[in-house]
Symmetry: C2
DNA sequence: GTCTATAGTTAGATAGAC
DNA sequence: GTCTATCTAACTATAGAC
């Protein structure tokens, strides 16, 4: 494997990633990938990968945000539960937002390969998530009536939901809401605030 | 259009829906649809639909949960904001959970057709969602510092995130969490409670 | 390692008998 | 409306010259 071949390999993966995201897996042909990667003919691809599925697997592995995500889950801290949660979401959501391409690839994996590659991603990430969760639960102000599983699912749900509404918000269909647009970090801050404090103020000023 | 042809048409749509969900759009062939619908040959399909894209569009339209969703958004009420929110989520989430098939079809639409059909769905649903939101905002205990757009997005995010973690929870990769399983309605109740009250108890017993 | 050429298969769609 | 038969085009993958 010389330096030339590895840069060719990278060109293939970059081209394939773009095409898979735009068109899906089955709708993207080996010929399209070859041409986008600078080849005249399909056959060149088979010098680097055994087949189409292997290209997709390599693309997904390459785009997985392990490098950015795992250190955050390992190291995020805070003086209070609120502080920790804010630091977590303010770190994780921008990471995932910059990798919406990875999210799209995961969706393809769920449809075309029954989520096999996604499962392997989850198995590598969840232990780190659980470590973060135990630090969060050690704070006394966390409501004792909430089970850890439910807190974990709520956090993950908000992250996923935020990313999806981010995609949906870019479609023209949602341009007709009778509200002025909210820009930048305000979205994230509002969501964090709701997750931590809720959207209501209890009449007694006391929660539950 | 006799009764026979319309039942044939239904058979085609049911067969196509299953195949599209399992395999995606491009990976599902007209021949597969024809056989699953009881035809010996492909040509039979073209007596009912001009082409493959038209079959997919008809499938999506047929599976869209307008009938169950719109009345809920129109009519849901409550004595307090908490009551209204609980009633809303407890009605909407089971509806969507029973229609996870629709969610999968939407994902296909996002990949294969740039979300064109999803946009049309959103345009029909969002006005009803906004109507519900204005009733919610009329309650005095809703935190005045939260903008309506952010509350709306938080609600939608939680619904979407809940549905996705529902799918992810069914994969074997998540069977190894060091927690006992939570069953049934407890998931939903916990999520609603967090959305309304947050996951922390403020030290002063006062929000923000 | 990259090319030309092509094998072998399958795709969506159609013509015409019945 | 459903069938048999078939068209044209595209697909993944490979063999072999260079």
């Amino acid at each position: 494997m010389s330096e030339e071949t590895s840069s060719r390999r990278d060109a293939i993966l970059d081209a394939a990633a773009q095409l898979f995201q735009r068109q899906g897996y089955s709708a993207t042909s080996m010929r399209q990938i070859a041409r986008a990667a600078g080849y005249e003919a399909v056959a060149g691809l088979y010098n680097h990968f055994p087949g189409k599925e292997d290209i997709f697997a390599a693309v997904l592995e390459r785009r997985a945000p392990y490098d950015a995500l795992l250190p955050v889950l390992e190291n995020v801290t805070g003086d209070t539960a609120e502080d920790l949660l804010q630091n977590l979401l303010r770190a994780v959501i921008p990471i995932m937002r910059e990798r919406l391409d990875f999210l799209q690839l995961i969706l393809i994996d769920l449809q075309e390969f029954d989520g096999r590659l996604f499962s392997s991603f989850l198995q590598q990430v969840t232990p780190h998530f659980v470590g973060m969760l135990s630090r969060l639960l050690s704070f006394p102000e966390i409501r004792p009536d909430l089970k850890p599983q439910i807190i974990l699912r709520a956090i993950v749900s908000v992250i996923i939901g935020y990313l999806f509404t981010e995609i949906a918000a870019s479609t023209p269909a949602l341009a007709h809401l009778p509200f002025p647009p909210v820009v930048g970090e305000a979205w994230l801050e509002g969501l964090v605030s709701i997750l931590i404090h809720g959207m209501t103020v209890s009449p007694e000023g006391k929660v539950k």
